[in-house]
């Protein structure tokens, strides 16, 4: 006979059966039956945050770094609304997440009851799907469906809104967790079209100037292995989106680094001059393409995406491939090897010559205006933020998980830290959520307890969720926070410098910043402050030293407040239209 469980116990049991390790959450009235069910079990650990937004970012960081869905539990009303920013962040970057929100009892829904909000309604535009539990008996099936939807196809957040009375301990039901789920209205494509794959191979075999434009979809699908094989064999350069960094090793010669608004000169030039663009799990975001009408005029566009709605949304593709990136890239790699081996020597030789020429051009761009990764600290000079990231890269030997917030520091981290492995670079790309860095780093550390985890942030972003320093102490999370402190909202200020005549409207607050060293010490952690370039190395070494291995260390790096992020795309232009420095505009 099946076990008899209450709704609250069924919910937690279903999460156990789904293999959930952690729930990130915050209790409250409507969720108390569920919290009692958590108390009476051992399998799942609940992480108590200090604000619900942080719970969603923690779950998000956990999901991005492990590939497993993150799970959040919040109460109704303000608990639910506080979770919205994190849900939207996960939605924009297609991160698998299941968010369980308490709701007022069914007979109070619609009465403006205490802590009532229409969570299904308020989250609707930023979820992949949502459920409201109508009857306690459907809880196991709803949980099963929620995880299935969150993790398959194009992943995304799913909300389960649970009225308090459906979790009441006084009523019990036969519990059985469904072994499979079958939704007639939800069948995401997995396998792509083989004839399209053959067309892509033909295009690759005849390309003179190919570029792999690699996005987060490749990482989501764990498709880095066939990607790397294909890139090596075809000798194509790789231009990565902000979300795709690490799918292909950033320190490899064939990597051109990041493309787009603050992408490298060589990546953006390559995209503009290419005759074949393979867009792999990327969505032609406006921060990449600049003006779509001027986008890559000479290229044949191949677009691989798991979401049919992404294909032809911004840029029309010549060859569309809808399917799982791992399936498609594996199939493509096999088909490429087969057809490559069949072609005659003359054709092969001809293409190698074309590729030699292409690489000569790429190297010329790289040496003319590429990023300088060999910055040297100068005596009596302020610290360049780029140097801080370069130092972090060196001290962590390129192997840390790096999370970031949003702004200049995010771009410097993306430009100057080479990610050689997927899932190591964790940032809010689509929504651009300040306050993401610290809590997501906490989720990364929970999911990867032995790993070195650093959060590259700025003082503006950090202060949006710094209450989580308390959570870090509670769970002993030894995150290293690298605060690129420019005493301003740097990216806003940069735009104001460049487009608003230097009028810094509401972007500075240098007179009222806290002493971060004392602040983090008050939370029970270690604070280091560094403002001299020559002392940067020592400060960074200390943060990552063996003696601080189990401690959270906050390095407050006072950087040059005047520094801008370059290159920067020229608004309305092609990808080749970039401002390269404060004195070099519009080189192309």
């Amino acid at each position: 006979m099946a076990e008899m469980l209450s709704g609250g116990d069924m919910l937690i049991r279903a999460l156990q059966d789904e293999g959930v390790e952690y729930i990130f959450g915050y209790p409250g009235g409507s969720a108390l039956h569920i919290y009692d069910a958590i108390f009476r079990q051992q399998k799942i650990e609940h992480i108590l945050v200090r604000h619900e937004q942080a719970a969603t970012h923690m779950a998000d960081g956990y999901a991005r770094s492990t590939g497993d869905p993150g799970v959040v539990l919040v109460t109704s009303g303000p608990g639910a609304t506080n979770a919205i920013t994190g849900i939207a962040t996960a939605y924009m970057d297609s991160i698998p997440m299941v968010v369980i929100s308490g709701q007022v009892p069914r007979d109070l829904i619609g009465t403006d009851a205490f802590q009532e909000t229409d969570m299904v309604g308020i989250s609707r535009p930023v979820v992949k799907h949502s459920f409201m539990v109508r009857d306690a008996s459907e809880i196991p099936a709803v949980v099963k469906k929620a995880f299935h939807i969150a993790t398959t196809g194009r992943p995304g957040p799913v909300v389960i809104d649970v009225p308090k009375d459906t979790t009441d301990p006084s009523a019990t039901y036969e519990y059985e967790y469904p072994s499979e789920v079958n939704l007639r209205s939800y069948k995401p494509a997995f396998e792509g079209d083989r004839t399209q794959v053959d067309r892509v191979v033909q295009a690759l075999l005849s390309a003179k100037r190919p570029v792999f434009y690699v996005g987060g979809g490749v990482i989501q699908a764990d498709a880095e292995t066939p990607l790397r094989e294909l890139v090596k064999a075809t000798r194509g350069p790789v231009a990565s989106t902000l979300m795709g960094l690490g799918a292909y090793p950033g320190s490899d010669k064939q990597s051109l680094g990041m493309l787009g608004m603050h992408g490298t000169y060589e990546a953006n030039m390559a995209m503009h001059e290419a005759d074949l663009i393979l867009a792999l799990g990327a969505r032609f975001d406006d921060r990449v393409t600049n003006n779509p009408d001027k986008f890559s005029p000479k290229a044949t566009i191949v677009h691989l995406d798991v979401d049919p709605a992404s294909v032809d949304k911004i840029i029309s593709s010549d060859i569309a491939l809808v399917g799982d990136a791992q399936w498609v890239l594996n199939t493509l790699w096999e088909a490429y090897q087969h057809q490559e081996s069949q072609r005659d020597e003359a054709a092969r030789k001809k293409q190698q010559q074309d590729l030699d020429q292409w690489w000569a051009q790429l190297e010329e761009w790289r040496s003319a205006h590429g990023l300088n990764h060999n910055l040297v600290p100068q005596k009596d000079q302020s610290i360049l933020p780029q140097l801080a990231v370069q130092t972090l890269y060196r001290v962590t030997e390129g192997e840390a998980f790096i999370t970031s917030d949003v702004g200049q520091h995010q771009m410097f981290a993306a430009q100057y830290y080479h990610f050689d492995e997927p899932r190591r670079w964790i940032n809010s790309g689509g929504l651009g959520t300040m306050g993401f860095g610290l809590p997501s780093a906490m989720g990364v550390q929970m999911g990867n307890p032995e790993a070195v985890v650093a959060c590259v942030t700025g003082e503006g972003s950090f202060m949006m969720n710094m209450q989580e320093l308390s959570t870090c102490l509670q769970y002993g999370l030894p995150i290293k926070i690298i605060n690129l402190n420019n005493q301003a909202l740097g990216m806003v200020k940069q735009w104001q410098d460049m487009q608003y005549g230097g009028r810094h409207s509401q972007s500075t607050y240098s007179d009222s910043l806290p002493d971060f060293k004392t602040l983090v010490e008050a939370f029970g952690h270690i604070g280091i402050r560094v403002s001299e370039a020559m002392e940067l190395d020592a400060a960074m070494e200390e943060a990552f030293s063996e003696k601080n291995k189990n401690r959270l260390v906050f390095v407050d790096v006072w950087v040059d407040p005047h520094e801008h992020v370059y290159p920067m795309a020229i608004k309305g232009g092609a990808m080749s239209d970039m401002i390269l420095s404060k004195t070099q505009g519009g080189a192309s």
């Binding site: 535009p125 209205s185 979401d307 049919p308 709605a309 032809d312």
Partner: protein, 167 residues
């Protein structure tokens, strides 16, 4: 380009709000919308008219298809189809106008479904353009007839011949 999208939708609470929300969220236009359960009580069928260039219509279809509760989407305008809309119109007509309004209703094969000494309520079924033409005919009739109230159901439609939208 006008498009009539026929959508099979899970007949579940909140499903319709996702469809309508999608249109608001992505700045798509809804010109008309009808929805009711089908012969299969687990499914609703929704007919929605919208307009835009081919790319936009294609995006709308894909985005609709992406909604978990949407089972099937077709654009009826892509092939021969039957479309109908029902109109109820209340007209104040006195004197000479009474005959004129009744004549117009007859010409358009409308039915008078309610009468008072001063008003007619007329029911008319047809493609939207025919309904528009009738309203205009009453407005422009040149006699003392005043439109008091108009209500339209929005378009419903089916593909012609063997085409069937089903599971």
């Amino acid at each position: 380009m006008r498009s009539i999208l026929a959508v099979l939708l899970e007949n579940e609470p909140g499903a319709l709000s996702r469809v309508v929300g999608l249109f608001a969220q992505r700045n798509y236009n809804i010109e008309s919308l009808t929805v009711a359960p089908t012969e299969d009580p687990t499914l609703s069928r929704l007919t929605l008219t919208t307009s835009g260039d081919a790319n936009k219509i294609s995006q709308i279809r894909k985005q609709l298809d992406k909604l978990v509760e949407v089972v099937r989407v077709v654009d009826l305008c892509e092939s021969p189809h039957v479309e109908r809309e029902l109109l109820l119109i209340k007209v104040r007509a006195q004197g000479d106008a009474r005959q004129e309004v009744k004549r117009s209703a007859d010409i358009f094969r409308g039915q008078i479904v309610d009468v008072t000494a001063q008003t007619y309520t007329i029911q008319l079924v047809g493609p939207s353009a025919k309904l528009d033409a009738f309203v205009k005919a009453v407005e422009d009739s040149g006699v003392d007839a005043t439109i008091l109230e108009v209500v339209r159901t929005g378009v419903s439609g089916l593909g012609r011949g063997d085409q069937v939208l089903s599971l």
